[in-house]
Symmetry: C2
Subunit: 327 residues, 2 copies
């Protein structure tokens, strides 16, 4: 029997005599034959791999930021989401971290040459050029989170502003009138949107202004932000915190000041991460379906690999409020 026939059977193309078909599979099982991926890639010009690219401005791995980044559930949840769609299809995941401009250019070259068929991109830097480069090179790619600058590339994002609005409505619905917010870093798009949504919802209800303190998405920054907030604005009844980790810190701050939650001050977090469940009282929070979003991003990439002529697409997920004890 010729290699050609075997190849046809294994790839399931064209009608091959069922008897031969059977014989081939038996032989494969018996000998434990595994096709050589490199050889196959060489001729099909497909690698059967999707890259998960983390693009940042950090060049060395021992950088504390990178350490934090990997230790943060954010990264793992995205990996989990991507894997959940790749695994059933037998597609490989290759992880790529690019910090320098040189690395970015190199990555685009490698990708363009077929190292991976497509890329799921996490662009962490506000003026990251990677999305544009990917786009120019015609690589099947999609971002998790909207690009900081307008680039014709597919992406999946969360309606962060709607999440902020959800928090506002809930707080208002509880009867809290004097509200405040602990925001994320001002330069992060998601932070901005959460603030905007919260602000607009309050404005619709006639609340023209509310105090804010900027945090850094860390436990400690949430703690100190809350301390600052309550000392400067003693009458506060409700606080929206831009992520759960900060909210957990905020809760601790309130506890040390003997402020009861939610009776004295109601607190709403954002993300519905494990920190929300680990906080006491458990956090009422806005659910950020990161796994689902990463999965959807991956599907977008896969679709584009199948049909490169597909137009650029964006999918916006709606956040949901998860009511627990803190508000």
């Amino acid at each position: 029997m010729s290699r050609a026939t075997v190849s046809r059977v294994i790839n399931g193309v064209r009608n091959v005599d069922p008897k031969l078909h059977e014989i081939v599979w038996q032989a494969v099982d018996a000998t434990g034959y595994v096709p050589n991926r490199a050889a196959r890639s060489l001729v099909t010009r497909r690698s059967g791999t999707v890259a998960l690219v983390v693009s940042d401005a950090v060049s060395h791995d021992d950088d504390p930021f990178m350490r934090r980044f990997f230790a943060d559930p954010f990264f793992g949840r995205i990996v989990g989401g991507v894997m959940s769609v790749l695994r059933p299809k037998g597609i490989q995941l290759a992880l790529q971290i690019v910090g320098t401009q040189q690395a970015r250019t190199r990555l685009v070259g490698d990708l363009g040459q077929g190292q991976a068929d497509g890329a799921v991109v996490l662009s962490l830097h506000p003026d990251d050029t990677l999305p544009q480069q990917l786009c120019d090179a015609g690589i099947a790619a999609a971002l998790v989170g909207r690009p900081a600058q307008p680039v014709p590339i597919s992406y999946v994002d969360l309606a962060n502003d709607a999440g902020g609005a959800l928090a506002a409505e809930h707080l208002l619905g509880r009867g809290c009138t004097r509200l405040g917010m602990i925001t994320g870093p001002a330069h992060v798009p998601a932070s901005q949107d959460r603030l905007t949504g919260f602000r607009q919802a309050l404005a619709r209800h006639g609340h023209a202004w509310f105090p804010t303190v900027e945090g850094g998405f860390t436990y400690e920054s949430g703690e100190s932000a809350m301390l600052a907030l309550i000392s400067q604005h003693p009458g506060l009844e409700g606080v929206f915190v831009a992520n759960d980790l900060m909210a957990q810190g905020a809760l601790m701050a309130l506890r040390t000041r003997d402020v009861r939650v939610p009776d004295d001050i109601a607190v709403i977090g954002f993300d519905d991460s494990s920190a929300a469940l680990d906080a006491r009282p458990q956090l009422t929070t806005v659910r950020h379906p990161l796994e689902d979003m990463a999965a959807e991003t991956t599907r977008l990439v896969l679709a584009r690999i199948d049909d490169p002529s597909l137009r650029v697409e964006s999918v916006i997920f709606d956040p949901k409020l998860v009511v627990r004890q803190s508000a």
Copy 2:
């Protein structure tokens, strides 16, 4: 100029005329040439890839365990450690999750055939057959954490028992006499070792027995374990908790009972994860250098790829006590 010469220049073999050398690199820069990885792999039989394999008994990705696993810093920290040694060498990381026995067999086949040059393995299941399979197939691999069953495969582990001893000595050194422990799941080797080390150190100081409660490495289990511990053993002066997350929960439990830490009860955690810094008071804990260990595991794999005749090796890291506020 022939392809052979170009190949030699790019791979830096043999003495090539410096002038030609220069010309080639100029041409490469000018045309943006990127070597085809598949073609290169085909002939060199090297993929330039190392796989990070997570081997577990879970077959579907939506499994809550897998979700937890990815969201846990454990996974990310290992990825970070592996990347830190792979990245400078330009080696790719391919992520593989294998849940079923079939997937394991398939993985070994793929690896044996050259899909990756080696594997860093996270074996999560006590009677996982993967280490043995990898070993039988002669694949360059090493485990993070010792194998549950004796298998001639390289691994990197932490001297968990020494960590337990460190905690015991510190607690004793503070003058705490009536000690207790919140352990991890009994079937996890690392849990057992931490308990054993703690017990033996106490025994050396004449403490024949101490109360223990088994937890599940989660915040909530730490919280309820601590509640159980102090209600059953009111005179406790110090508690060793088998990981930081449980310790954080334990701290919260003590706080709700108005037990002062460390004055009434001293608490020591394990891992030195972000939970240790986010706890109030900040946790005194045993540092688990997971990134460094993952990096070392990767180096072991790389060494074995370079020289398959290398003998099986194990590297045991020593834990260090990080003294903060809780003990």
